[in-house]
């Protein structure tokens, strides 16, 4: 159990895939206009990394070395397509909004990175939890960025209005910059900065 705990501490805080490893930034910037998109994207990626890690780890002693990257990619792609199919069946609107980004999980460096760096060298049980941890580490950042951008950019959270109407009548306006990708970039920078100052993301304490 303590190993799994350590994995989680590592992926969520010390070596967070976005904040420290700087992987998967592209989708993190693109889909985080609303919190819901961030949540679904985070969940989708967590499922894909966890199961790709599990499968690849199970097969690691049989995969021919020369074609291992291709095999990893085939497995990842298959998982992504399955997740995409489920989204189209059960969360149609969100899947429309995420458009190409679900498909692009295939090229998300976190998935490939964990398969190569962890699953090829560790047992299935640990690899699975490493996948969950990295997926959640990614999701946490997406949820943070998505939440902040939705509150200040659209005045709502999960589609529910939270900035009260009287503020708008008093002259408050939603910040248009929040909705645009550049602000996600700035926000991400701030999050990395804060995390490092607090000792995470390989900051001062570690």
């Amino acid at each position: 159990m303590s190993t799994i705990k350590r994995i989680f501490k590592n992926t969520m805080w010390i070596s967070n895939p976005i904040a420290y490893q700087v992987l998967g930034v592209c989708s993190a910037l693109a889909v985080t206009v609303q919190l819901e998109n961030g949540l679904v994207m985070g969940a989708a990626l967590t499922i894909v990394v966890a199961f790709s890690n599990l499968l690849i780890s199970l097969m690691r002693n049989f995969i021919p070395h020369r074609i291992r990257i291709i095999i990893e990619l085939v497995i990842i792609s298959a998982l992504v397509i399955i997740v995409d199919q489920f989204l189209q069946a059960y969360l149609f609107d969100v899947s429309r909004r995420l458009s190409v980004f679900v498909g692009l999980i295939i090229t998300n460096c976190i998935v490939m990175g964990r398969a190569e760096a962890f699953a090829m060298a560790n047992g299935p049980w640990l690899s699975f939890w490493d996948g969950i941890g990295n997926g959640l580490g990614y999701a946490v950042v997406l949820v943070l960025v998505g939440g902040i951008r939705e509150i200040f950019g659209s005045g709502s959270l999960l589609g529910i209005q939270i900035v009260p109407e009287f503020l708008y009548s008093a002259g408050y306006v939603n910040n248009g910059l929040m909705v645009l990708p550049p602000f996600a970039f700035i926000l991400l920078g701030l999050i990395v900065w804060i995390a490092k100052t607090l000792g995470g993301a390989h900051g001062e304490e570690s």
Partner: protein, 237 residues
């Protein structure tokens, strides 16, 4: 280092297993996805016509009470006993779906007509619906329900700020079909704006090719329904 035979056999096995898995997933979710897509199309027809359905029940109810689906022949006549979803792809060259939206208080009176539009953008074929007034001349709304344009640039065509510019614009100049020109940049900065403002909307910067596609789409698609509307206007005279 493994032998070539092992490598090939391994790759082959992995591919077979995964393709079986993928087909199984697809087959088991197909019905549900098809239902979602159908609902989405109905929702877009309603949105084009100016409704704002909140959920799936709303869509179903509104569609049943206010929308009358029908099919037109090449000559612009209504084909009796045929529904839009029954058109098979070989017939789609000669048969055109049309949706009549009735007024809230009188089912016989027409509030607007909605028909599907499609055309090539930069990367993809864009599919949508166009709502027009009962004469078929003035745009009452437009939606896009399927497109693969660049998110954030061409993909913006789905957004309300872009779509609402079309409302009230004229497809016809007198009896001549001119379509609607999606300008490069702001419509009012164009030289032709003075005389053609009724046939022009603002474009999306960074998405000129997508916008050109829409301009083309709004010239080609209304043509298919021209005969129908001409006959309709003649009857009313």
């Amino acid at each position: 280092m493994q032998s070539n035979r092992y490598t090939i056999a391994f790759a082959f096995t992995v591919c077979v297993i995964l393709s079986v898995l993928l087909s199984a997933t697809y087959m088991s979710l197909k019905d549900r996805q098809e239902l979602n897509r159908k609902l989405d199309r109905q929702k877009n027809i309603l949105i084009a016509a100016g409704f704002s359905p909140e959920n799936a029940d709303d869509v179903g109810k509104l569609f049943l009470t206010r929308v009358k689906p029908m099919v037109l022949s090449l000559g612009g006549n209504v084909v009796l006993g045929k529904l839009p979803e029954q058109i098979i792809s070989e017939e789609s060259q000669n048969l055109f779906p049309l949706f009549r939206i009735s007024k809230a208080d009188n089912e016989e009176e027409t509030e607007s007509f909605v028909y599907p539009i499609e055309g090539k953008g930069l990367w993809s074929t864009m599919y949508g619906y166009l709502a027009v007034d009962p004469n078929g001349k003035i745009v009452k709304g437009i939606t896009f329900y399927k497109q693969g344009e660049t998110p954030g640039l061409g993909g913006e065509i789905e957004k309300e700020w872009f779509r609402k510019n079309f409302i009230g614009k004229k497809l016809y100049d007198g009896d001549k079909l001119v379509g609607i020109n999606v300008a490069k940049g702001k419509a009012r900065d164009q030289a032709a704006y003075k005389t053609k403002s009724q046939h022009m909307v603002d474009g999306i910067s960074g998405a000129t090719l997508t916008c050109n596609g829409i301009t083309k789409m709004l010239k080609i698609n209304p043509k298919k329904y021209g005969l129908f509307f001409r006959q309709l206007r003649r009857i009313e005279l």
